[in-house]
């Protein structure tokens, strides 16, 4: 019997120029993908390999010849004859300023690669002045759109506030939030379809929020942790990681990663167990796994404590309740 196999129509190849080098790529390829293929590193923060580009952070901007403004590499598709410069003076300037603006307003201490980029682009986030005091919990969430209290310019405004700890599984430390929209997209119609969070407020006071800043336990959150999976800065983290960082015992170098299959149901999700000192400290899933695309449910993501109940009392898992 003949089985019809539907193939997508072949993609046209187009010619373009990146940093003076001719490239030939399938139509629809983004500048970022083309650069990745040719080994040109472009910094990204809000780009997610499993999500639609939001173009929010602007750290990936490149110069397209003839364009008035710079273009985000993560979403701009190459066109025939397009000439792109990924390291021009204008590009370096904007990347430097984006890193400085973020560095001066957000806690980037747990964002991978930022120190390296800061050095590469000679960013000095401290030059906007001393950082303002963190806001009390809830103050930023109550701000009204379209007004702000103008200070006297002596301190640089930041988004810092105490972490939000309202459940046993994960912590939201919005001092570290760069507003990349990835958690919102992962929670919403791109993956989980729970819609527990949105971007509330406007401008510098924009923040990730449940409705009326309600605790997660009252919200639509299902604790799948897919927002943690995509968070680029560590603003969202496992309670285990948050506690260990507070205690100073978090040591990524000492961790091993073991990918296995979740045993809870028959779907067969891949789990990557991050283990430090023989304890599971975090669970992720490979983004290229065809079953999960990096997503899990509450059981796969957080249901690991039983593994390390070794009979004795006083273990971390025993303290953390039923899961």
């Amino acid at each position: 019997m003949t089985v019809l196999v539907h193939l997508a129509p072949p993609k046209r190849l187009i010619d373009a120029t990146i940093d003076g080098e001719e490239v030939r790529v399938p139509e629809g390829t983004t500048v970022l993908d083309a650069c990745a293929a040719s080994g040109t590193e472009i910094p990204t923060l809000c780009y997610g390999d499993t999500l639609t580009p939001r173009n929010a952070c602007r750290v990936c901007v490149v110069e397209v010849e003839g364009a008035r403004t710079l273009a985000p590499a993560c979403s701009r598709k190459l066109e025939p004859g397009m000439s792109v410069n990924t390291d021009s003076e204008r590009v370096r300037h904007s990347r430097k300023l984006v890193l400085e603006l973020l560095g001066s307003s957000v806690d980037l201490s747990t964002t991978p690669k930022v120190p390296e980029w800061m050095e590469r682009y000679e960013a000095e986030p401290d030059r906007f002045g001393p950082r303002s005091e963190p806001a009390p919990l809830g103050e930023r969430d109550a701000r009204r759109a379209g007004e702000h209290e103008a200070g006297d310019g002596s301190v640089a405004a930041t988004v810092e506030q105490p972490p939000k700890i309202d459940n046993d599984l994960y912590v939201r430390d919005y001092s570290k939030c760069i507003m990349c929209y990835k958690c919102v997209d992962a929670c919403g119609d791109q993956w989980q379809n729970s819609f527990a969070i949105g971007v509330a407020g406007r401008g510098f006071d924009a923040r990730i929020s449940t409705e009326h800043d309600a605790p997660l336990t009252d919200s639509a959150c299902v604790y799948c942790g897919n927002c943690i999976e995509v968070c680029p800065t560590g603003a969202l983290s496992f309670a285990t990681e948050f506690d260990m960082r507070q205690a100073g015992t978090w040591d990524e170098e000492a961790q091993t990663e073991t990918t296995t299959i979740c045993t809870y149901c028959g779907v067969g999700c891949n789990l990557t167990l991050h283990v430090q000192e023989n304890e599971i400290v975090k669970v992720t899933s490979p983004h290229d796994n065809p079953v999960t695309h990096g997503n899990l449910c509450i059981k796969g993501r957080f249901g690991f404590q039983h593994v390390q109940r070794r009979g004795g009392g006083g273990e971390r898992g025993a303290e953390r309740g039923p899961l």
Binding site: R58, V61, T69, H93, V98, L102, G146, A150, S209
Partner: protein
């Protein structure tokens, strides 16, 4: 969609306000009483979600009725429209005119923007703060806010009061005297200080007939036509046009001559002749005339209108949409308000022609929330036009079907950006989208859309009446036709002026009577907050697109704000910076944080900081905002400051000559 709600219930008043916009609920699935039969079927999917664009009108209905949006009301709106509460909260908290915490029904918006600050809004602000506490208070009978430009710059300083109720009412004080401000901020004598706690006492729908016991106007409108008790009646729209009735006027020729509520008046003055001509020419003929006329967009970007219409009309995807951008919020701009208040039918006719040309059957008219009178006049015009078959299934018996839906903004400058306006209409946050794809290809609801400014659209009427080539003969080669200029600030007769392109800045200022005795011009802001300053000795700049460009400045939306020698330029720059910080949507880093750093730097200068090092910092931040921001707001947020530095030489060492702007 499986939605989860907080355990909050709406009051009957809130429920009625929402249902007055959305109609009664069908079942327990969309917010009605839950019956046993509801459990035997599920309502979901696209049919449940495809009314998302009614989110903004539903939020308005609650805010208009009760004065704020309670958790119970928000939940009810979400149930009715199948919208996740977190998303509805995200949308509601985006707009300055919505409150998510309980507040008094009456809100006074005092304009403290550039034009009003130059005319003394400062003492009024202090007066309000003294009597009513800091802005945004939740107690008492009235609350107040400092507002960005209210579009009443010709009679600055301005204030607007809006009071929620069964039919919301408004009043303006402009020019605002201390006494007028006190009246605006006086407690309403009516009972039920807050309808929220009062249940059915005021349980009358905010919309629909029969809401008032006196004679109804021709058409029910959102805002009551009777202003708040005790306040002065608003001056006629024509008062904004100092030379109203001039035979040279083309765009403003009906302002002051017709009753803006009367279609018969409009027709007696040549109304709807252009639509008849359009129907005779056919869509391609209309686009040809508009292309031949050389008309370019009057909202600030100056894109050729004919090309935009042609590109939209030729898209194979459908339906096509027309969006009229009446979210006029650029500080110093009030031209669209005067047209909508004084000659609303002209906009309705022009939108019908535009819809005909691009093949659209629905036009959305997006008007800013701070224009209650313009909204009332347009609502009336649309209703009357529908009654007379000038809108509807068979426009003028031609078989062409077209109707207009009004969408009211709620205090967000960014929603005037041509892609942010789509988000706002669709019930999402008003965040600009990355281009490409451009609106002509993927615009409103992802469909081909033409977005046109009010002034651009009304230019189409004379184009069709006189013919494209004849229109092109008016003005200069690069800038054709008449142009409206919003003149405000220190001149003798501020107001809206219509001049053919080609006049110089000096001609315009002289038309306004020049400067009062003893005053000289320190600087002129062209194009609003997103525009640029020129010096008082540069009055020979031709007010044309090419002339402004050659002089290294911009016409923008037609703002000409004259700052005399008493104006505090540094304070003006701080206000411009505060405006951009407040109005940034917050999506991209260069604008979200850059506008904050820009304001901080200018504040340091104003308090004695070293201008040289601050200007270097401002320049770096400004360049990144211009290069790397998503939309025009961030890209232009540094323009005015840059021109003050480079063109006015504001922070140069004393005695140094003013420098020419470096291109």
């Amino acid at each position: 969609m499986d939605l989860r709600f907080l355990d909050e219930t709406p009051t009957d008043t809130e429920r009625e306000a929402v249902d007055s916009v959305l109609g009664p609920p069908e079942s327990g699935w969309d917010g009605g009483t839950r019956l046993d039969t509801d459990l035997r079927y599920a309502r979901g999917g696209h049919t449940a979600r495809d009314r998302r664009d009614l989110l903004l009108p539903a939020l308005h209905a609650v805010n208009d009725r009760v004065g704020w949006i309670s958790p119970g009301a928000l939940d009810h709106v979400c149930r009715r429209l199948t919208v996740p509460p977190a998303e509805a909260y995200a949308v509601a908290s985006f707009y300055a005119m919505f409150a998510l915490q309980e507040r008094p029904r009456r809100v006074v918006h005092l304009c403290t923007d550039i034009a009003c600050a130059a005319k003394g809004s400062g003492p009024l602000r202090d007066r309000l703060a003294e009597r009513h506490g800091p802005p945004g208070g939740h107690d008492g009978d009235v609350t107040w806010h400092e507002s960005p430009c209210l579009g009443m710059c010709e009679r600055a300083p301005a204030a607007l009061a809006i009071e929620a109720g069964p039919r919301p009412r408004s009043a303006v004080a402009a020019p605002a005297t201390p006494g007028a401000i006190d009246t605006l901020a006086a407690a309403s004598p009516e009972p039920a200080a807050n309808g929220h706690s009062n249940g059915r006492a005021n349980g009358v729908p905010a919309h629909g007939p029969g809401t008032a016991d006196r004679d109804l106007p021709a058409a029910p409108t959102t805002f009551d036509d009777v202003p708040l008790p005790g306040t002065d009646p608003e001056p006629a729209p024509a008062d904004a046009v100092p030379d109203a009735g001039s035979p040279d006027h083309v765009l403003l020729r009906r302002i002051g001559r017709v009753d803006p509520l009367s279609l018969d008046d409009y027709r007696a003055e040549g109304g709807y002749l252009a639509l008849r001509e359009a129907l005779r020419l056919g869509p391609a003929g209309v686009i040809r005339e508009v292309s031949d006329s050389g008309l370019v967009g009057r909202g600030g970007a100056a894109f050729p209108t004919g090309r935009k219409w042609q590109a939209t009309a030729s898209q194979p995807d459908g339906p096509h949409y027309l969006v009229c951008n009446a979210d006029e919020s650029e500080p110093g701009t009030f031209k669209d308000r005067v047209i909508m208040e004084g000659d609303p039918f002209s906009l309705i006719e022009a939108m019908t022609i535009a819809g005909y040309a691009i093949g659209a059957h629905t036009g959305y008219l997006y008007i800013r929330g701070e224009y209650p009178r313009a909204l009332r006049h347009l609502e009336n015009a649309i209703t009357v036009a529908r009654e007379r078959d000038l809108l509807g299934d068979d426009v003028l018996g031609s078989g062409f079907s077209f109707d207009i839906e009004i969408r009211r903004g709620a205090g967000a400058y960014i929603c005037g950006e041509e892609t942010a306006i789509f988000g706002s209409i669709e019930g999402e946050r008003g965040e600009p989208r990355t281009k490409p794809p451009f609106p002509v290809e993927k615009g409103l609801f992802g469909k081909p859309t033409a977005v046109n400014n009010v002034e651009t659209l009304v230019n189409v009427l004379p184009i069709l009446l006189m013919g494209g080539p004849a229109y092109a003969a008016v003005g200069t080669e690069g800038s054709t036709g008449p142009k409206l200029f919003c003149l405000s600030g220190g001149v003798r007769r501020p107001g809206l002026y219509e001049l053919p392109f080609g006049a110089t800045l000096r001609d315009l200022i002289e038309a306004a009577g020049g400067m009062p005795e003893g005053r000289s011009i320190q600087a002129v802001l062209l194009g609003g907050a997103a525009g640029a300053f020129v010096r008082g000795d540069e009055l020979d700049i031709p007010l044309t697109f090419e002339g402004a460009r050659a002089a290294g400045t911009t016409l923008g939306s037609g703002v000409v704000l004259v700052l005399d020698d008493t104006a505090d330029l540094v304070a003006t720059l701080v206000r411009v910076a505060a405006f951009f910080r407040d109005e940034s949507c917050g999506q991209c880093v260069p604008c979200r944080v850059g506008t904050v750093r820009q304001e901080e730097s200018l504040l340091r200068i104003s308090r004695g900081g070293d201008p040289a090092s601050e200007v270097a910092l401002l320049r770096e931040v400004g360049q990144a905002m211009r290069d790397a921001s998503i939309c025009g707001l961030g890209q232009t947020a540094w323009n005015a400051v840059e021109s003050a530095v480079d063109r006015l030489g504001l922070f140069d060492a004393p005695g140094a000559p003013a420098r020419e702007r470096t291109p």
